[in-house]
Amino acid sequence: MVVGDVTTSTDVLVIGAGPGGYAAAIRAAQLDLDVTLVEKEAYGGACLNRGCIPSKALINGSKLASKAGNSEELGIYADPTVALDEMMDWKDGVVDQLTSGIEQLCTAAGVNLLQGTAEFAAENKIRIVHQGEGQGSESLKFERCIIATGSRPVAIPGFDFDDEYIVSSAGALSLETVPDELAIVGAGYIGMELATVYSRLGSDVTVIEMLEQALPSYERDIASVVRQRAENLGVDFHFGYTADSWAASGDKAVLTAVPADEAADDSDVEITAEKILVAVGRRPVTDTLSIDAAGVETNSQGFIPTDSRCRTNKEHIFAVGDVAGEPMLAHKGSKEGEVAAEVIAGEPAAVDYQALPAAVFTEPEIGTVGLTTTQAANEGITPVTGKFQFQASGRALTANRTDGFVRIVAAKETERVIGAQIVGPEASELIAEIAAMIEMGAKLQDIGSTVHTHPTLSESVMEAAQNARGKAIHKRN
C-alpha cells in the first residue's frame, strides 16, 4: 500500500534524538518554538543506547566482579561468578530508564516526536519515511532545521559487521556470554574501554593497533599508565600491526594481522578469537539524509562544517554534535544543541567554551581538559606544570588505587590554568573542577588556595596546582 505524503509544517525540525538533538529540541521548546524531533531508532542516540551509558554500566559491573575476586591483599577471598546475560539485563534496564526519561522530557517540554528516517526533499522540506512495509511516509515543511544525526562505527575492508564473528562497539555492548577470546582492532578509547571490560570478565583479550602506543591521541605518560594496567589484567598488545583478513574456523575466527610498516621484517600474526571487535573510529551520518537536496555542504570526511553559532552554509540549517565534527563527545553535542536552539530563538548564544573536558573510562580512568604542554607551546604560551602522584594521596591508598597522577598546565607568565591531564582513580570526575576553573579564568593560586576536603582524591588537584608554584605540602617541589 502506498500512502500519499501528507505535508505538515514546523518552526524547528530536529533530526536525531541523541544528546545533541534532544537537548536542542527541549531548549527550542523552552524558548516557545514549535519543535518537531525525528528519530529513526531509539531516543538517546548512540550515547544512551550504544555508547557512553551501556559501556559505563558494563565497566562498573566488570570492575565490581574483578575487585571482588582480586582483593586478597585486603583479606577478601571470593570467586565471583558473572552471569553476563543478567548483567546485560541490568544494563538494558538502566538504558531503558534513561531513554524513556528523554522521551518524557521531550513530551513534557512540548516537543512533537516523530519516528522515521529523515531525508531532505528541498531546502525547507523533509520527507520522513516510516519503518516497516506499507508504513508510508510524510512530508514536513520547516523554517529552521537542526541536523543531529550523529555518527556510526567505521568498518574496515574485509571486516563487515556480522554480529557473529565481527562486532562493532554496539555489538560488544550486548554480548550474551563472555567470549573466551576477544580480538580488538584499534587501541583508541573504545577499544581500550572494552578491552578492560572483557579482560576483567575473564576473556583473553588481544589488541591490534597500527601505531606504537595505546590511546595514541593521548600523551605517552598518560597512555602508558593505562597500558600497564591493561597488561596486568592480561591484555596482549600487538603494536604496529593492522588487521588484514580473517577466516572462520569452526565457531572461532582466525584473524591475520600484518606489520603496518611493510618495510619492517616482522612476521604476520595470527590470532584466534571467538569475537573480533573493530573499533577504529566513527564516521558522521550524513549519507542517508539526501543532504544535497537541502544544499548543505559536507567536507571530505562527511562532516558538516559549522560556525561558532552552529550554522551550516545554509542560514536556516544548523548542525550539532558528532555530525558537525570532532571531537565526537556527547557533552559537546548537547552544548551545541542548546546553542543552535538559542541562536534560532534570536539569543546571542555561541559555542565559546574555553576548554572541553573529555574522559576515558579505562582502568585507571583518564580525564583531560584544555591544553597539554606541547599544545600550549605550539600556541606560543610558555607552560608551567604541576604534578601530583596518587601514590601520595591518602584517599587513593585507602581505596587501594594508586596508579596515575594529576598534571596541571598553566601559562608561566600569568599563572592562569590552561589545561590538565589526569590519569588515575575517578579522573573523569576530578577533571570537572579544573574545567570550571579554566572557564572562570582561574590562576594556579585559585585552585591551590581553595580548601579541598580531606581525605579525598580532589586534594591531589590542589596539590598539583601548588606544586606548579613550588608550594605543595605533600610532595617535594
Partner: protein
Amino acid sequence: MVREFELPDVGEGVAEGELLRWRVAPGDAVSEDQPVAEVETDKAVVDVPSPVDGVVEELRATEGEVVPVGDVIVVFRVDGETDSDGTEVTPPDDATSESGQQTDDEAAPQPAGDAQSDPAVTQSVQIPAPPSVRRLARELGVDISSIADSSPGRITESDVRAYASESSTQERSSHQTAAAKQREQQPAPAQSVSSAQMQETADRETTVAVPKTRHIAAEEGIDLNTVPTDERKDGEPFVTLETVREYAEAQKTDREAVTKREATDEPARPESRKPYNGIRQSIGSAMTSSKYTAPHVTHQDEVDVTALVDARSDLKQEAEEHDIRLTYLPFVMKACAAALQENPQVNVSLDEANEEIVEKQYYNIGVATATDDGLLVPVVEDVDTKGLLEVAAETYEKTQKARERSLSPEEMRGGTFTISNIGGIGGEYGTPIINQPESAILALGEIKKKPRVVESDGEETIEPRHVMTLSLSFDHRVLDGADAAQFTNAVQKYLRNPNLLLLE
C-alpha cells in the same frame, strides 16, 4: 594592495539592505566567497561573500545600519603572496579528540567551525573571562578578545559594560557629527518645500521596503504606502530608509507649522518644542538614575553667618589684590571639607556590585554650575589641602570654563561631595538630587537678613542677622538622619565661626 568592496546588489534590483551582522573583524584573513557579512533585504537575509582572498583592513558600516547598494562596506588588504591559500586553519586539538582510533588510515578530521571566522568567539587563545561574562559580551555586541588584548587580567562584567558604553558613546558622537554635517549641507528645510512634499503623499496598495525601514516607519507612525517614491523593485514601488526619514522629518515640520498657525489662531495655548538631547538629556538620565536608585532624604537647617559676612568683607579687598573675586562659596567649600573630615561616613560612595561602601580619604568638592545648556558640575580637588584663595581662584576658573563650555570631562570627574548654590539666584530651602556616585549634596540658600534672638551677657535681644539656609540631601542607603545632622552641625560650626577654618 587595498581593495574597497561595495555592497553588491544582493538581490534583484535591491537598492539597500540592513547590515545585520559582521562575520569578520578587522585583521581576519578571508578567502574568496567566504561570507563577510549578513545583509537583510526586503526579502531575505543573505550572506555577502568576499570577492577576494585577503585580510580585512577596515569595516566601513556598523551593524544595524541600512547601507545603499554601491557604498563601500569593507576594505580588504590583498597580498598576492601570503594569502594564496586563504585562511590559516589551527590544527585540531587532539587532546580533546576522543576518536583517536589512529588505526584508521585517514587523518583526524579538522574541527568544524574553522570554515568561518567569528569575531565574537576566539577558540584558540583562552580568554580569562567566565562564561556569563562572555555571554554578556555577545549580548552587548562586544568583541571580548579586544578587551583581553588591552587588559591582561581577568575580565569582569563591569569591564565589558564599560567597554560597551565607551564604544557606543564614540559611535553616537560620530553619528551626531555626521548628522550635523548633513544639516549644514542642507541648510534650508523650508516649510514651503515640506508642504509641497506633503501634497505629494502617495496612496498605494503595496510598498516594498527592508524590515528596518518598516520598523522605523512604524516607530514614526508612518504608513509606508503614503511615502512618495520613484524607485521600483520587481515592478513594485520601493521605499528606502532615507526616504522614510525625510518624509517623517517633513511631516514633523509640517505638523509644527500647523501647530504654529493654530497658535496664532488660539493665543491661549502657545508652546514650542526643542530637542531633548545632549547635556539636557545627560542631566535627565543622571538625575533619574540618582533619584530612583538612592532613597533621598533632605535635612534642612539654617545658620547665622553674620561673622562670615564680616570675614568675607574684611578679606575681599585683600583677595582683589591677588585678582581673586572672593565669594562665600570658597568658605562653604572649606567648611564642607573640614566637616567631611570630621564625619568621614558622609564622604562615601556605594559600590553596589561589590557590596561595599567606599570611604574616600580625599575631599574633592563639586560645584553645581548653571550654564545656558544646563547644569554642569566642575570639581575642585583636594579642597582640604588648599588655601582659601587657591580654592576661590580654582572655583572661579572652573565655573567660568563651565559657562563657556570649555570644561574638560576630567574636570568634572572624581567629586566626593557636591555643593549647589541656589541662593545665588534666590530661594530658601531646596531638595537637591545627589550627584552620584557621591552620597550627599548640600544646597545653599540665599543669605538674608532676618530677625534673630541673640544672647549676649545673659541678655536676649532681637537683632537683624545674616542667615543662610542649608539643605543637605543624603543617600539613606548609606547614611542615616543622625549622620546628616551631625555633618550639618559641623558645617554650621565653621560657617558661624569662620575663624575656626584657620585651624584647619
